[in-house]
Structure formats: C-alpha cells, structure tokens
Amino acid sequence: MPSDPRVAAALAALKQPIAEFRAAVQGALAQADAFLAAQSADESTRASRAGIALGEFGARHISAAGFAALFPAVAPADDASQKALARAIDILRSVAAQGESLFVAEVTKGRRLGATIDDALAVAGRAFGAIIITELVRGGRYRAAEHDRLLDASEFRAWNKAERRFAPPLVVEVDGADLHAGALLDFADGREKLVLVVRGDSAPAALVRCVTPGTFVLQTVDGSGLDRLAGYEGPAIAAVVPEGAAVFMHDPTAGKEAWQRITIAHLPALPTKAVGGSSAWQLGEDLKMLADLARTPFAVPGALGAKGAPAMGAGEAVDRLASWLLDSSGLAGTA
C-alpha cells in the first residue's frame, strides 16, 4: 500500500477507470479460458456445459447433448496459435493479479517524468497486446510473424484509439523539481488519466501548460476535484500539489471559451526563486498565463485579483457584461 495518503486518495478517486481497465482484462481472460476449454472439451463436457447454460427449467425439458450438438466443435488451433494464446493468458493473468501497484509509479532520482510514465503504462499496455492476440487466435487470424510483437511491452505512443480509450489510469509520485508539464502532453489522449502526487517545492502553476480545449487539468491541494477528473470522458491530468501552489481546474465541459472552463481557487503571488530547472521568471510566466486564460473578455472588478477568478454561471456573466456596458457608456446609475 502506498505510504503517502494522497496516493491512496488518488487511487480511490480513480476507482471507476481502474475498474473499467480491470474489466477489459478479466473479460479477455474469460474469453481466452473459454476458448481453451472449448478446444479440449469432449461431447459430454459440452453437453454438461450446455445443460448448465440452459438453466434448471431448460435442463428439465431440453436435451443438453442435442443442444450442444447444434454448434460445430471449435476448430482446433494450431501449435503456434496455442502457444501465443498461452503467452497472452499468462500476461493477462499477471496483469489481473497485480494490485494497485499496477496503477502507481514513482519518478526516482535520475529518471524523467515522461520515461517513468511511459514505462509504467507499457507494462499495463502489454495487456492490450494480449487481448488482441486472444481475439486473433479465437478468430483464426493469428500469424506469428505479424502478431507476436504485440506481446512485447507497448508504449503509449503505439496504442491505437480503442486502447487509449481503455487506458489504465496512473498515479505518479514525483518531486516538484522533476515536474515538467511538457512530458505529460504526450499522454493527453483517449481517456488517459494521470494524477501526479507532488513532493516538496514545485512550480506554482506547472500544469497550466497542459491546458488544451479538450484536456481536463486540475491542480489541487486536498484532492478535491479528482472525482470530476475520474468521470471525465477525455484525457485528464492532475497534480496534488503542496500548499501555496496555484489551485485551479480546467473543465472542458464548462464552456466554449477558456475563461469559462477555468476556475481558479487560489492564485499565489509571483515566485521569487527557481524550482528545479525553471527560473523564477519562467514560473511567473506560468502564473500569468493562468491568469490570462481565466480572464473574462470584459472588465470584471476583482476577477483577477490575488484570489483569482471565481467560477461564474452563464447568467452571472450576462449580468456582468450588462454592468460593463453601462459603465462603458457612462449610463451606470442613471436609471
């Protein structure tokens, strides 16, 4: 079990995507086991299975052997296919047997964030290759020369669209000094969910550079907002940051414009010292960009004050726009 309670909290928030990934693995395993069992089943075994599938009512009134005989026996798979299927099953079993560690990685000294995530996802990604091999063998389409490489570890960049939609979420423990947002953008696709648990000093708004119209981005101190991240249907990146860093959420479902999508709960003062390889000026640029993105397209007193822009509803925005128009035209207070 992770020692940092923030990791446990992140895993708890990611329960649903973890369950979905596990279900995909378990489903493939069940299909593979059933295929293997069918390969070796004799008539009486097949009849017995059919009898169970028909339920008690059916078993009393329907000939199970006759029912089983309705379908031709599964065509025997060749040796190469059987071996590939056995390897695929081993991988699926190993992935299924792994506990939470499958969904947790740590950026150790001397390693980079991007490489750590790549390696961690590649382990889980072998399951995708195993699932495909299983389907190919069952469908009689397996060709060793063409397909065996699927069982090797597979990096995220090689995953197809479907795999990226079932991508396993990952919680990454990282020192603030090693948090480079650029490394994260490679994984912002499908439904990948990354949660960074940041230790020590970190850039105050490191994740702002991950904000794109379709990516859910969150910086949180206490874990609030992770539940929304887990339920988001697209890619999502979050950082559980130390006290003092910016706290904000970019929720792509909240509106068309950046200022509608970004909610800032805390915007710290401009930094005066460097963190990791980033200078104070660079860190300050992050903060200014966050403020810029959240800035409403019209003057809203206090909206970009020290505490950042509060969340707004559409109705409230209209009221503020009306107020600004009145101010601009010098008509305020004349009614």
Binding site: L54, H61, L70, G139
Partner: protein, 631 residues
C-alpha cells in the same frame, strides 16, 4: 348461521383447537385499508414457520372504487397447508372483513365455505347513517342463507385506543387476531413488519406492533377456537416471493442487462423490483414513453449486443406486435414476458386469464415463427428466464414467456435457487468475424446462424426488416424469400427435436387426460388427485412449450379415451344457442392441440376473473368420465 351473539364477549374458556392439514383465510377490505399488507405478512411468516402457502390477491377492477360496495372488495386469500400448497383451493374457512359489503362480495362469489367463520367489523351496525345500518341488516340477512358463523369485531373502537385514523390500523389489528388463531410466531411477525415498513419511521413500526399486540390480546380474550396446521422444517432453504418478483430475480440471474418497459397491470411490479436492485447487478430499467418504444429499445439494445427483455400485459402485447415482427425478421434475440390478464382490449386489468395464447403465437403479421414458453409455477417463473435468454440467443428469435395474474401476484415458498455464474455468460463471441462469414449465413439444416454485433471487425452489414438474403441484402426474389422463411421456421423444428415429451401426472392410460398450461397446474393436479380418489381414471399433463410444442403429445393422447384441456379462457358450450360442434369456439390450447394432433380434443374453460378452483375442475372431470372406473 350462528347468531351474531355468538360473538365472543363471554369470559374466555380454553380455546377449542382445530387440527387440520390445511386452512384458508381471507382478509378483505375497501381499497387502501391495508388488507393486502396484513395478508402478505401473515403468508410470509407462515411460510417461514414451515407451512405450505399459496396466496391470491383479491383486487377490484378499479384503482379507487367507492367505499363499502361489494365490487370494491380488496384483499388476499391465503391458503395454508401442512405440505406444499399449489393453488388457492376452493373455499375459505375464515374471513376477516373490514365491512359487511366486502364480505357480501365474497359470499356472492361462492368463495366461503358453509362452516366458515366470518369476523366482521360491526361498527356499521351502529352507524349514524340509517342507510348504512339498513345495508348492514340486509347483508346479514343475505349471509344468513348459509350456516356461517359470524363473529362481530369492534375493530375501529379497539384501534382508536392507539391510533387517530383507524383506516391505518385495522390491518395490523387483524394480523394480531390471525397470529393468535393460527399460533404464529410474534417475533417473526414483528421482524416481517419491520421489513415491510423499512422505509418508514421507527414510530410507524412501533405503532403497528402495538396494533398487532392489541389484536392478539383481543383474540385471546374473545376468540374461542384456534387452528393448528402442522409445520415442517424445510429440507432446503426456501425463498418466498410472487411470480413477478421471481421473473425479475430470474432476469438478473440470467444476466439480463436491460428491462425496457411501460407500466401496465399486472406486469409493472416486475420493473418495480428491478428498479430497486437491477443497477447493483449491472442492469437498468428503462421506462419508455409507450409500449411500442419499450419493445424497440429492447430490440435495439439486443442488436447492439446487450441482453435485453421487455415485460407487458395484453394490450401492451398488441402494441408491440410490429416490433416483434422486426425482431423475428432481423433475427435479433428478444425475451418478452407477457403477464396475462383478462381481455380483449383493456379487459380485466387486475384479473387472471389465459386468453393471450393465440395472440402470443400469431401476433405478428406475416410468417413470424418464434418461441412461446409458459411457466407453471412461481418457481418456474424464476428459472424460465435463464432458459428464455439462452434460447433467444441461440435461435436468434423472440422468446415469449406467458405468465398470468395468478402467478404474478400469488406468493408461495420454493427452494432457494442455486445460482450459477455461467447463466450470465456473455452472449457473444466478440472475436473478429471469420472470413466469409455472412450476417445470415444460415446452416441449411438447422437455420441457425452466428450473430454479428455492430462494430465487430469484418461484420459490417445493413440491417433490414425487408426480406433479405444471407448477406442481409434486400431481396425480392421469391426464391430467397422462400429460403429465408424456411430457415426462420426450421429453427423451431430444431428446438422441438430437442424437447422431451411432457410428463404425465398419473397413469399413462385411462378414461380422461386433462391438458393444461400455465398457472392452472396446481389446481388441475389437485382435482386429478381427488378424482382418482373417487375411482375416476383420469391423469393430466401440463405443457410448458407452446411454440414449438413438446413432442410425443399425440402418443400420450393415445393412452386415453378422452382428452380435454382446462384453461382460463373462453369457449362456447355445446347446447348454447346456435353453438354446434362445427362452429364451436374452443379453448385456445384445445384449438392448437386439435390442429397439431388431429385428435378430437375437448375443453373445459372458464373466465371468472379468478384462478380456477380444483373443486370446479373436479366437477368438470366428473361430468366427462364414467364413475367407478368403468369405461
């Protein structure tokens, strides 16, 4: 009739104990007075204590009929037995009635045994309204034509010592009386009350328990008899439920993922239970905007690879017919549960009938072969869902499950099902479609095809309700239509070849064979037992598969001089004006059996709006057989 003065206001003497193998009790009231709740708790506790139980709801045709009219009688009959009870029996031995008009209703329906004990709320005899008093007196006079024992009970006066509104208390007071008379375990009753009112406050529970105890002590002081029905501990753990609950739980056990429905009596409670628990098992209930849409949603979900069913009753079945044709033509698996009620049209929404058999078989236009099953017991309602799902998927067709209001609302204990996760197996092999596989690549021997789900690599095709060839291409050629029709039909012949002949209840030879289907099994077999005890050579058989029919039926018929169906649907009687052998409209199963066996099958059918009584069936048997075993 014993005089009303036989009411037991005298000092209590040790009660006379009546030891009997079975006893039948009814609790009747106006709608909304809770008689059904009282009976449900009484029945559940009796079953848990080791009695056989069968209950039947007595429901008025209107949702809110006027008070104090015979037509508004609402409640339950509970038949208790030392051993398993399979039907509601003939007449009631004891009634608790909340007014004399609902009691009169039961009397007029000949539901009460001659020596029945009738405990009736007597406040109406002293009402301020002279019309009510006159109605009471008239009812007592009418009831006096039979030797009932009437026991007045001041229910309202007693209940008012605890509650302000006696309309919400009499049922628990009545439950207390029954608990005393039948020596029911008060702890179990209190547990059952807690379960029944689990969504209410602690205060409501406490008040109901107070009323229960009040009724119990009142009976201790005023009722001079008790009824003792031996109990036996069950060999296996039992569950107690009605048929709709069994259908719902069976649907979950079978791996169903979607119940698409539109509310209709008496089918709705299937979805009520599912809506509470289905999501815990990965399923969902979709209440569509109408019956047609509900069927369409279920078909769509099934087409997409989900395991879906829809549930309805008579008028809903009529509305779904166009979509049923689509499911059959496109070979999309679908399970449809039809909880039959009286018809035609809106008919008798709350009453039992078996009049949908022919509609179920021939509802869709064109040649639309599909499977029709009928569970005979509440236990079978559970297990039949597993089979229905498997058949629908294997044969890629519609499977209709015909239950009825008797099974739907009747409650009985049955052995706890031993669930098997293999019932829930995924319906499909989602491996990529094999090279050359066609969406309707019928096996020319069996008509069976491997199903393709949208999105499966290599499986792209157009789905159409138009006549189509193996590639699902629209085809107007007569040859293709002939072939595809044969393939859809062949599946039923294949299924029939796998079925076992129906067992015969009793000897395989005799004077008369009764053939039944659906919920009448218990009543028929009880009637057969009683007839055989009289020396009549009668047996019975009960069909569960109505399309295709089970094999060997004609051979079974050959062992008997006469064959007669017993059904809860309408048939003409020979001797009625204009009715001849040639134009006689027969019971629906008789119609089918005559057509399929060419045997001169007779029928005895009734549409009384209630389950058939074994005594009535016995009379019919006597009328068609020689006595004493003489041929």
């Amino acid at each position: 009739m014993s005089a009303a003065s036989s009411s037991a206001t005298a000092a209590p003497a040790p009660p006379k104990v009546l030891r009997v193998p079975e006893h039948t009790v009814e609790i009747v009231s106006d709608s909304g007075e809770g008689a059904q709740k009282c009976a449900q708790i009484f029945a559940a506790v009796s079953a848990k204590m080791g009695n056989g139980v069968w209950t039947v709801e007595l429901i008025p045709a209107e949702i809110q009929p006027p008070p104090r009219v015979p037509e508004g009688a609402s409640g339950n009959r509970v038949r208790l037995g030392e051993h398993a009870v399979t039907n509601w029996g003939d007449r009631t031995n004891l009634v608790i009635a909340f007014n004399e008009q609902v009691l009169l209703a039961r009397h007029r329906l000949d539901a009460l045994d001659d020596d029945a004990v009738l405990l009736v709320e007597d406040k109406w005899a002293r009402d301020d309204d002279p019309e009510i008093v006159a109605a009471w007196n008239a009812a007592m006079k009418e009831l006096s034509t039979r030797p009932y024992r009437i026991v007045p009970v001041a229910m309202e006066d007693e209940c008012l010592t605890i509650v302000d509104n006696p309309k919400k208390g009499k049922n628990m007071f009545a439950l207390g009386i029954l608990a005393r008379i039948y020596d029911r375990d008060m702890t179990r009753i209190k547990d059952q009350i807690a379960h029944s009112f689990r969504k209410k406050s602690e205060e409501v529970y406490a008040q109901n328990v107070s009323l229960l105890e009040l009724g119990y002590h009142w009976a201790e002081d005023h009722i001079d008899f008790r009824v003792e029905i031996p109990t036996h501990a069950a060999e296996k753990p039992l569950v107690v439920m009605n048929g709709n609950e069994a259908i719902a739980l069976g649907a979950i056990a079978s791996g169903m993922e979607l119940c698409a429905m539109y509310p209709i009596t008496p089918a709705t409670s299937v979805s009520h239970l599912l809506s509470e628990v289905f999501e815990k098992f990965g399923g969902m209930v979709h209440q569509a905007e109408d019956e047609i849409a509900a069927c369409g949603v279920a078909i769509g979900a099934s087409y997409a690879g989900k395991v879906a069913f829809t549930v309805t009753s008579g008028p809903g079945l009529a509305l779904k017919t166009e979509f049923l044709g689509l499911a059959i033509m496109t070979e999309v698996p679908l399970v449809l549960v039809n909880v039959q009620r009286g018809g035609p049209s809106t008919g008798l929404p709350t009453k039992v009938e078996q009049s949908d058999l022919l509609a179920a078989l021939f509802a869709a236009t064109g040649d639309a072969p599909h499977i029709v099953l009928a569970p005979a017991t509440i236990e079978e309602c559970f297990h039949i869902m597993v089979t229905a799902r498997r058949l629908a998927e294997t044969f890629r067709t519609v499977v209709m499950v015909l239950t009825d209001a008797n099974l739907a609302t009747g409650v009985t204990p049955y052995p706890k099902p031993e669930l098997d996760e293999r019932w829930q197996a995924a319906p499909l092999d989602l491996a990529p479609v094999r090279e050359g596989q066609k969406p309707y690549g019928w096996n020319t021997e069996t008509g069976l095809t491997q199903r393709i789900i949208p999105g499966q690599p290599g499986g792209m095709h157009t789905l159409t309700g138009l006549s189509h060839d193996e590639n699902s291409k629209v085809a107007y050629s007569s040859g293709i239509h002939q072939h595809s029709s044969a393939m859809r039909s062949r599946k039923l012949a294949v299924l029939q070849s796998l079925l076992t002949p129906p067992p015969v209840y009793g000897p395989a030879k005799g004077d008369l064979l009764i053939v039944g289907w659906g919920s009448t099994k218990g009543a028929i077999e009880e009637a057969v037992d009683r007839a055989r005890a009289e020396g009549i050579k009668v047996s019975s058989t009960h069909l569960r598969f109505l399309s295709p029919m089970e094999p060997g039926i004609k051979k079974i018929f050959a062992g008997f001089k006469k064959v007669m169906t017993v059904e809860i649907n309408y048939s003409d009687e020979i001797g009625d004006p204009y009715v001849t052998e040639e134009n006689r409209r027969r019971g629906q199963l008789a119609f089918l059996l005559r057509a399929s066996t060419l045997v001169d099958v007779d029928c005895w059918t009734r549409v009384p709006g209630e389950p058939l009584r074994p005594g009535s069936i016995l009379e019919a048997i006597r009328g068609r057989t020689p006595r004493g075993g003489a041929a």
